[in-house]
């Protein structure tokens, strides 16, 4: 036994600083320390430093307001993590309303035992994503649940933005003859997450397309493009977004399959697993429905932004068969596009 008292250590519990404990959500000292040490320094916003019950944000004119929750496994995947998803997802929903994102709230539900380092990485990437998108993280909430009650962590964000579009944007504004512009290649996020989750061992480095879309949308508005509707592609992919718009607008959409950009590695992975790339999730792509005379100009504006450099005109809106989306295939024959039924399941052979 060591007889030098200077090296003795006290056997009393000192608290494990490496993982999230239930006490971190208990409203006491541990929670205060978590907020002071991890959350507030990461988000670095004056509103958070006020330590008040909510944030006060000056706004004028019409306000867009949206909320979303994020549950993804694994928490980290090539091209992003749950933090970038949560910030970009809400930023993108605001952008689709023709609004410049201003401020976001962040709700964290942490599972007991989550490594604090994981939390630090996630909040750091939330801050980085917020900086890229030019949005503030001004208020939030943290809860801790028992081990086994959450997949590491869940994040929910809500956001407000100032509407800058001069005229309303939404499915009801879509007109027959409108041109459908897609901001880039489809299917990358879903395949990147699936490859990471299932350890599929693809040699190609598939990366998520997760990105903020406010900049290209603001550029379209500033260029005076006659924007009728915007819709970001998320779960359910391009197919679900198109069907939702067609049904809400009471019009039909005809897509040109050959014009829809799909990266070769994504196409190959989809072929292998029996998935349709039009159903695979995206997190940094959107559809713009624009007046036919503005289509070429919209395409040029989008191509000037790195996140939408591969934008393409992929279809048009028609009057007949309301609610129907069809797609002209490589042989020139049309097929119907429907939303996914249930979740995507890989086929047997």
């Amino acid at each position: 036994m060591d007889t030098d008292p200077a090296t003795w250590t006290c056997p009393a519990p000192v608290g494990d600083d490496d993982t999230v404990r239930l006490a971190h959500g208990g409203g006491g000292r541990a929670m205060a320390r978590l907020l002071d040490d991890v959350i507030r320094p990461a988000f670095a916003d004056a509103e958070l430093e006020r330590r008040h019950d909510g944030a006060v944000v000056p706004l004028d004119g019409p306000v867009a307001f949206t909320a979303d929750s994020y549950v993804v496994r694994p928490l980290f995947f090539p091209g992003g993590d749950i933090g970038t998803l949560a910030v970009n997802g809400t930023v993108n929903d605001l952008a689709m309303c023709g609004a410049r994102p201003v401020a976001l709230s962040v709700g964290l539900i942490l599972e007991e035992g989550l490594p604090l380092d994981t939390l630090r990485r996630v909040v750091a990437s939330m801050r980085a994503a917020a900086q890229v998108a030019g949005v503030r993280l001004v208020t939030g909430d943290t809860k801790v649940v028992d081990r086994g009650k959450a997949d590491g962590m869940f994040v929910s964000t809500a956001g407000i933005g100032r509407v800058v579009a001069p005229s309303p944007i939404g499915p009801e504004q879509v007109r027959p003859g409108d041109v459908v512009v897609l901001s880039g290649d489809v299917g990358r996020h879903g395949m990147a997450v699936m490859a990471a989750r299932e350890s599929l061992g693809f040699e190609s480095a598939l990366e998520s397309d997760c990105a903020p879309l406010a900049a290209p949308v603001m550029a379209l508005i500033e260029a005076g493009i006659d924007l009728h509707c915007l819709r970001d592609l998320t779960r359910g992919g391009l197919a679900s977004a198109a069907v939702e718009i067609a049904e809400a607008a009471g019009l039909s959409i005809v897509l040109d399959e050959v014009a829809i950009p799909v990266r070769e590695d994504v196409a190959a992975a989809c072929e292998l697993l029996g998935l349709d790339s039009l159903h695979v999730a995206n997190e940094g792509r959107f559809l713009a429905f624009v007046a036919p005379d503005d289509a070429e100009r919209a395409l040029a504006v989008l191509k000037a932004h790195p996140v939408s450099a591969d934008a393409a005109v992929i279809g048009k809106v028609a009057e007949e068969s309301p609610g129907r989306v069809s797609c002209i295939g490589p042989l020139g024959v049309a097929r119907v596009i429907d939303m996914l039924t249930g979740e995507q399941l890989p086929r047997i052979c």
Partner: protein, 367 residues
């Protein structure tokens, strides 16, 4: 994308369609055997490029569709036992048993996992020695070699907690059953290219001779299928009935001998009931006596005799090629992928699901 785009070339497809139209002097009815081909035909609209007289009917080659309901029921029963992990291909999870599907069992707390390879199920067993891991081994000769490998690996690693619920089926006996049916109107076959990749096509030669039908080994891309149709009608017009293999980039006459050896080692021929079709002798593969210890039925009790099919679903007629999905009065109304009455509406390779997905209800009715 290489090895895909060149087989989807518009101009080449039109040329082949033109050659078919030129070759045909009277109506012919062909069956494509594999569900993957059915999907390609409906998705790309290949049937709409063909002359009016040439009709494609869809065969029984959807592995999920023909798996008997009693096996689905048994898989669900096993999955719901404590300490059991049931591994399955994704397609099987939505297939309805007598009371719900595997997804519903999962929601009730069963540990049901989707695997992409049967060897993943072996890995699950290796990593969780305290759990009984059961792999739901279904499919045609295409999945049988990989499933045989899972048995070989489990045996090599002496995994005592791994077993397989086996409901494998074979294509040639099903083709004979279709041809034997008194109301059969099939005059030629597009054989399933991937099954032939494994098994070769020697075993189709006696069928072509006995039933006087041309059998053309056919791939899955639009040009493959059009070429298969072209060769088939050319034989019919010339009064010939032999096996042809234009899918030579994947298929050799003798097939994949190594895969066949693994299958022979692990499996043995057994009679099998096909959903919608009935009992067909020697149409299934079961575990050979030397691998009986890996049989989930030995561990968890045998599969009970299944209930007789009831209700208005005509999936049996669809699987035998006697009806097309839109001819069913329930198609798209009382039967949809969300609320399927039968399994051909569930599987991604099922004919009803293909029509629903790619044609829609109204358009398919006119197909």
């Amino acid at each position: 994308m290489k090895f895909r785009d060149e087989y989807r070339d518009t101009a080449a497809a039109r040329r082949l369609a033109g050659a078919i139209a030129k070759a045909v002097t009277r109506p012919w009815t062909l069956m494509e055997v594999c569900g993957g081909q059915t999907h390609a035909i409906v998705r790309f609209g290949i049937d709409r490029l063909l002359p009016d007289g040439v009709s494609l009917v869809h065969g029984p080659g959807c592995p999920v569709c023909v798996t008997p309901v009693e096996y689905v029921d048994k898989a669900i029963e096993i999955a719901l036992r404590p300490g059991v992990t049931l591994c399955s291909f994704g397609d099987m999870l939505r297939v309805p048993g007598t009371n719900g599907d595997l997804l519903a069992a999962k929601a009730r707390g069963a540990d049901v996992r989707v695997v992409y390879s049967p060897l993943d199920a072996v890995a699950v067993a290796r990593d969780a020695p305290e759990r009984q891991v059961v792999f739901f081994a279904v499919g045609f000769e295409t999945t049988a070699p990989a499933n045989a490998m899972a048995a070989l690996w489990a045996r090599r690693e002496c995994l005592s907690n791994f077993s397989m619920l086996v409901s494998h089926v074979r294509v040639p006996p099903a083709m004979e059953a279709v041809l034997d049916a008194p109301e059969c109107r099939i005059q030629g076959f597009l054989a399933a290219g991937h099954v032939c990749t494994v098994m070769g096509f020697e075993e189709y030669e006696p069928i072509a001779r006995r039933f006087r039908v041309p059998i053309v080994v056919t791939g899955f891309e639009p040009l493959d299928i059009l070429e298969g149709v072209y060769l088939c009608v050319r034989q019919l017009e010339a009064g010939k009935a032999k096996v042809e293999n234009p899918y030579a980039r994947s298929v050799r006459r003798e097939g994949n001998r190594a895969a066949q050896a693994a299958m022979r080692e692990v499996f043995t021929l057994v009679p099998r009931r096909w959903r919608g079709i009935g009992d067909i002798p020697e149409s299934g593969l079961g575990l050979a006596p030397a691998y009986a210890d890996l049989d989930a039925e030995a561990r968890f009790g045998p599969v009970a005799a299944g209930p007789e099919a009831a209700g208005e679903c005509i999936s049996g007629l669809v699987l035998r090629g006697e009806r097309k999905p839109p001819e069913c009065p329930a198609f798209g109304t009382r039967c949809t992928p969300e609320r399927p009455l039968g399994v051909t509406m569930v599987s991604s390779e099922g004919a009803c699901a293909a029509y629903y997905r790619y044609r829609g209800v109204a358009a398919a009715a006119g197909a």
